[in-house]
């Protein structure tokens, strides 16, 4: 009997087994293990011939089936038999338990789902309230917190971070940091170059780094009027930055 089966149609080996049991009209409490093992292995073989990746879980189940089969075929030892349960029992328990959640999943699928079967008002509160845009707000939970932290590192390779913190007063690092920020923001005011409460040394190094950038003609300085804001812009294309940034040891300050 040729069965058209694709593993991807099954959520896992238990799902596949249940399907085989049903399609062969077996009693789940009395699985014909030899037959089912053969069927199962055939499917795995077919998939192998098609050179498809078979998830480890499906192979693990194959091993389990073979093991059960071999135990059933062993000559019965009367002494042990009394204590030993049916080798199939554990598998049956798992299948039954799995079947319950499979049914529950099916039931969920049939419940009226929000945005699929039922809908809520799309009235936007922000439409009637001035300047209270809450579209950016997110539900919070431990997961969201961990996710937010993780994303920061995904966007920013940790290596960069190490270097800067360990040698927090290296001009070269500040040069890299400032030019990176400029590449991102296009334009920074002189004040923005000094974020937050910097220590005296940090202020000095930041200032030196800024001067260095101007000297290297990587950064351009503009001021419209006397005493008005001083603006810094990148004088070179951002993609050339890596090749232009000075090496650590080229800078006398170290």
């Amino acid at each position: 009997m040729a069965i058209e089966i694709h593993l991807k149609n099954f959520t896992g080996p238990l799902d596949l087994l249940l399907h085989l049991i049903k399609s062969h009209e077996m009693d789940i409490y009395d699985i014909r293990i030899v037959e089912i093992t053969e069927q199962y292995l055939n499917i795995i073989d077919q998939m192998k011939q098609l050179d498809l990746d078979i998830a480890g879980e499906f192979l693990l189940m194959a091993a389990t089936l073979i093991h059960i089969k071999s135990r059933l075929l062993l000559p019965i030892n009367d002494e042990l038999e009394a204590e030993d349960e049916d080798p199939r029992a554990e598998l049956v328990r798992r299948l039954l338990e799995y079947q319950r959640y499979k049914d529950a999943a099916e039931m969920f699928q049939q419940l009226p789902q929000l945005e699929r079967d039922v809908f809520t008002s799309q009235f936007q509160l922000s439409n009637i309230l001035d300047g209270d845009d809450m579209s950016d707000d997110v539900a919070i939970g431990v997961y969201q917190l961990a996710d937010a932290f993780h994303r920061l590192f995904k966007d920013k390779p940790p290596e960069v971070f190490h270097e800067v913190v360990r040698e927090s007063l290296s001009v070269a690092d500040y040069v890299a940091q400032i030019s990176h920020r400029l590449a991102e923001k296009k334009r920074l005011s002189f004040r923005e170059i000094f974020p937050g409460k910097l220590g005296r040394l940090e202020l000095i190094v930041t200032f030196l780094a800024t001067l260095e950038l101007v000297k290297l003609r990587i950064v351009k300085i503009d001021q419209v009027d006397d005493f008005s804001e001083i603006w810094l812009t990148l004088a070179v294309p951002a993609d050339q930055l890596p090749s232009l940034s000075p090496e650590q040891d080229l800078l006398a300050y170290g």
């Binding site: 959520t11 896992g12 080996p13 238990l14 799902d15 009693d27 789940i28 409490y29 998830a55 879980e57 189940m61 049956v92 328990r93 798992r94 039954l96 338990e97 799995y98 079947q99 319950r100 959640y101 499979k102 049914d103 529950a104 999943a105 099916e106 039931m107 969920f108 699928q109 419940l111 009226p112 789902q113 929000l114 945005e115 699929r116 079967d117 039922v118 809908f119 809520t120 008002s121 009235f123 509160l125 539900a139 939970g141 431990v142 997961y143 969201q144 961990a146 996710d147």
Partner: protein, 189 residues
């Protein structure tokens, strides 16, 4: 307050998520009993029969929702809004909904497959939440369903979950076969 009914109606209508009685009491600054009475009167005024939308009790609160059966019509409006859940995702959600708090190992044992990716998706969709760490060696994370899960399926609370069907094809001899307990599961991993 003269217009308590009006204010409560507006609150429930304008809120993004269902509002509980407690929340409404805080928002309106009125006695809880009075708020409750008003909500009940609104509930009976906005019955589903014959209407396009009604006042529903969901996720521990109140929310105006379209009546059931409008789905096929409204589908035209909701192009990408629906949360499509795969069978694997629904299975995982079902296990966690019924067994919470559940660990990843437990889910994987019951499903027989690696479920990390699916759980991540469900966490991203805000259908699961992390409940803390289990007091066993290794301190694995415990997962449960979120309030949004209740909203999505229109459940008032977790007690509203339909009971799990007892074993399909029930065999009297097998009734003793108890569902696996988390304690038992832990040993398997």
């Amino acid at each position: 307050m003269d217009n308590l009914r009006q204010v409560i109606e507006a609150f429930i209508f304008a809120a993004e998520t269902p509002l509980s009685l407690d929340r409404l009491t805080t928002l309106t600054e009125q006695p809880r009993g009075q708020v409750k009475q008003t909500v009940e009167s609104l509930l009976s005024d906005y019955q589903p029969a014959g209407r396009g939308f009604y006042l529903a009790e969901v996720a521990g609160g109140y929310q105006f929702r379209t009546v059931e059966g409008m789905g096929p019509w409204l589908k035209q409006l909701a192009k990408d809004r629906a949360t499509r859940l795969s069978r694997a995702a629904l299975e995982t959600l079902a296990i966690i909904a019924y067994r919470q708090p559940a660990t990843r190992a437990e889910v994987e044992f019951l499903r027989g497959v690696d479920s990390g990716g699916v759980m991540k998706t469900l966490l991203d969709k805000n259908l699961l939440r992390i409940l803390g760490k289990k007091d066993v060696p290794g301190r694995p994370l415990m997962y449960g369903t979120s309030r949004h899960f209740l909203e999505l399926f229109g459940l008032r609370d977790l007690k509203d979950l339909p009971t799990l069907k007892e074993f399909t094809a029930l065999d009297p001899e097998m009734i003793e076969a108890e569902p696996l307990e988390p304690a038992q599961l832990e040993d398997k991993n």
